[in-house]
């Protein structure tokens, strides 16, 4: 058996997503071997991140301030809101660097078997953001799973009375992919979402 403090560390580590008992043991032994200075740095980073990260009060993305960097940036296009499921989706769009509008993080999708309905998502806050006439377009960028689709359809109906343009992120053939490798559902949706070239 390992010493008590080492066992405790492994126990804590193994609760992290994607880390099983084997990985927890490897990481714990590595940290112990590296000594207290490295451990101190890691502990401080952990504490600081957990203490300082909160949700942006406008878009519910992650932020250290009341307003996140995107919402606070006057250079962004405040007339377009891209609605996503989770903060990690914001990061995915930001990595792409082609979207200049704002975001709204729902905090999930409608998932009946998990007991998650519209009430559990940040929908009222989204409707509040559509009051006034700043916002002209809402892009529904929930994932292309059945839950994401149902959530998008639900949102489209909910938002319609606000009178803004509503668009849905296109789904289809991955860039660089061979057509015969694409599944039937994806291909038929790519066909539904085709656009005119001439």
């Amino acid at each position: 058996m390992y010493p008590a403090s080492l066992s405790k560390l492994m126990d804590e580590l193994s609760r992290l997503p994607g880390i099983g008992p084997k990985s927890a043991q490897r990481i714990a032994l590595f940290m112990v071997k590296r000594g207290p200075q490295d451990a101190q740095r890691l502990a401080e980073a952990l504490l600081a991140a957990a203490a300082n990260t909160k949700r942006c009060r406008e878009c519910f993305s992650l932020s250290e301030e009341d307003l996140c960097g995107v919402c606070a940036n006057a250079g962004r296009d405040h007339s377009v809101i891209c609605v996503v499921e989770e903060p990690r989706d914001v990061l995915a769009f930001e990595r792409g660097m082609s979207f200049r509008g704002l975001y709204h993080v729902l905090g999930g999708v409608i998932s009946p078997m998990d007991g998650i309905g519209p009430e559990q998502l940040h929908l009222g806050e989204l409707l509040n953001r559509l009051r006034g006439d700043t916002v002209k377009e809402v892009i529904l960028a929930t994932s292309s799973t059945i839950e994401g689709e149902a959530t998008a359809t639900y949102l489209a109906k909910l938002i319609a009375p606000a009178g803004v343009n509503i668009s849905r992120l296109a789904t289809g053939v991955p860039v660089g992919g061979d057509l015969d490798y694409v599944d039937e559902v994806t291909l038929s949706r790519a066909l539904d979402g085709r656009y005119r070239v001439t």
Partner: protein
């Protein structure tokens, strides 16, 4: 390792590790089972678009040590797994699948349940009726041996009474003065019709209020058997409400 082919409907999925999914399947020849869809969360996966709740697939699986692994999948019927899903239809379909999951045993193939499941999913899309889910649940309960006995009062044995109450723990109606929980008038008639295989008349009911009451009664019967309520039921109710109020 042994490979086998089967046809299946996806009941639900959970993320597994970085890019895989665990898939709860109701298969035609092997009953309900869980399998792994490797890489199914990757954008370029051949099966990510297929492995979605409600879709019917032809599968090639191989036996793993704990879970079987999906090797190939091709689409038979997308059902709700397509664009522009109606939230209320989606909610009913998921509630239907959750009931099937709760009322059936692992690895007990039943072609009748398979067919009922599939016809139900298709009808939800093609010919929705407010009484459809209620009727499906009653048929499923009957198939699994949990049909309520409507012939007489469960306490005094009186027959042909106008029952206005029901005892859910013994799944039998009660006449006035014999206790039980009050139930909306009409739900027992609908249940009786379904149990006597006169479903088309039941589905011709277009009153959404009667549909909700019948569905509520049927999901309550399911809850009694499963031992807990269906999680989809509450979500389903709010989806249907919002659907109605927004037209």
């Amino acid at each position: 390792m042994k490979a086998y082919a089967d046809r299946a409907v996806v009941i639900r999925t959970w993320p597994l590790g970085e890019s895989d999914r665990i898939v709860n399947l109701f298969t035609l020849s092997h009953g309900k089972l869980r399998a792994v869809a490797k890489g199914a969360r990757g954008a370029r996966s051949r099966i990510s678009g297929l492995v979605q709740p409600t879709s019917e697939l032809d599968l090639l699986l191989y036996q793993g040590r704990e879970l079987d692994v999906i090797q190939q999948a091709s689409l038979v019927q997308a059902n709700m797994a397509r664009g522009g899903v109606d939230p209320a239809q989606f909610g009913s379909a998921i509630e239907w699948l959750e009931a099937i999951d709760g009322l059936t045993l692992d690895r007990h193939p039943d072609p009748v349940v398979y067919d009922l499941m599939n016809r139900g999913l298709r009808m939800m899309f093609d010919e929705p009726s407010p009484t459809l889910l209620g009727a499906l649940l009653i048929r499923l309960l009957e198939r699994e041996g949990y049909a309520p006995n409507l012939s007489s009062c469960g306490l005094c044995g009186r027959t042909n009474a106008a029952y206005r109450a029901f005892d859910f723990s013994s799944s039998a109606p009660r006449c006035s003065g014999c206790g039980g929980e009050p139930i909306p008038p009409g739900v027992l008639d609908l249940t009786f019709e379904v149990l006597n295989h006169r479903v088309s008349g039941v589905l011709a009911t277009h009153d959404p209020q009667i549909g909700r009451e019948f569905e509520g009664f049927a999901t309550r019967l399911v809850k009694e058997v499963v031992g807990r309520g269906l999680r989809s039921s509450a979500v389903m109710a709010s989806l249907a409400d919002n659907h109605r109020s927004s037209g």
